[in-house]
Symmetry: C2
Subunit: 131 residues, 2 copies
DNA sequence: TTATCTGCAAACATTTTGCAGCGAG
DNA sequence: CTCGCTGCAAAATGTTTGCAGATAA
């Protein structure tokens, strides 16, 4: 509803990459759009709560965000180099998870499945690898 | 090789629960064993590097540690209430992951699969739920 | 106008690092 | 004796919160 909220949504855009709050903040500043880092965090959290963006924790504990095409439950294959990601749906894995949970008597079970690798483009241009 | 290193290893013990560096530090202090928090962090990191302990990131970004029976690649089903976990091996998921990675042209692919739920014991005693 | 949103500064929590001293080999 | 290990204090990092002023409806 406000200029900043739209700015954060637009910053996420339709890009396939997961990006951190700070990266998004930098991006907006570079675009000449003045938004406080606090506000970026607040809107990302809100968007995540409504399920409009997905959040993944990187290995070092940083939260990275992406607006996904799929609204329903899915997973990601993320490029370590450029951050680009592919959305995956995996009935095979869902079935496995349900079965395992039942076998061990667990209830209210959720799961996270994230894959990290190097995409074909980045493998062809190794000098760009930065993570 | 030192008293503190053994203390950290022993603190992890053979418990099935994942615990944070700070919890382990508190535990040692309560046992009357004086170890600096810094040292706990350093040894946990070292043990994680050698694969002797597994690390999982909780939803809020905290790192939790566990010494696993299985040394090779596996996953976990973790109880949100008591932290107890079950080690899982999942050829089904490994195969799926390999196939997906190949399909999308990714290389050097790793994956994380973690399941969180409430174990049968905790479901029977809901008042203990704390997370 | 009036409730909400913003953004600075400060608080927070977790983890890492600098450095002087201790302890093991 | 020497070099690595320890642990305090301080820094670094990523994120959240208090609050006064700006802004949208």
């Amino acid at each position: 509803m406000t200029r900043q909220r739209d700015a954060v949504r637009d910053a996420l855009g339709t890009a396939e990459a997961f990006r951190s709050a700070q990266e998004l903040h930098d991006q907006l500043r570079h675009q000449g759009i003045s938004v406080g880092l606090t506000t970026v965090y607040r809107h990302l959290q809100q968007l995540a709560d409504t399920g409009e963006v997905d959040v993944v924790r990187t290995a070092n504990g940083e939260a990275v965000y992406r607006r996904c095409a799929a609204q329903d439950h899915h997973h990601h294959l993320v490029c370590r180099s450029c951050g680009r990601s592919v959305e995956l749906s995996a009935d095979e894995v869902e079935d496995w998870a349900d079965r395992i949970a039942q076998t061990h008597g667990f209830s209210a079970v959720t799961h996270t499945v994230e894959m990290f690798g190097v995409c074909a483009d980045c493998a062809a241009a190794p000098e760009r690898i930065q993570d």
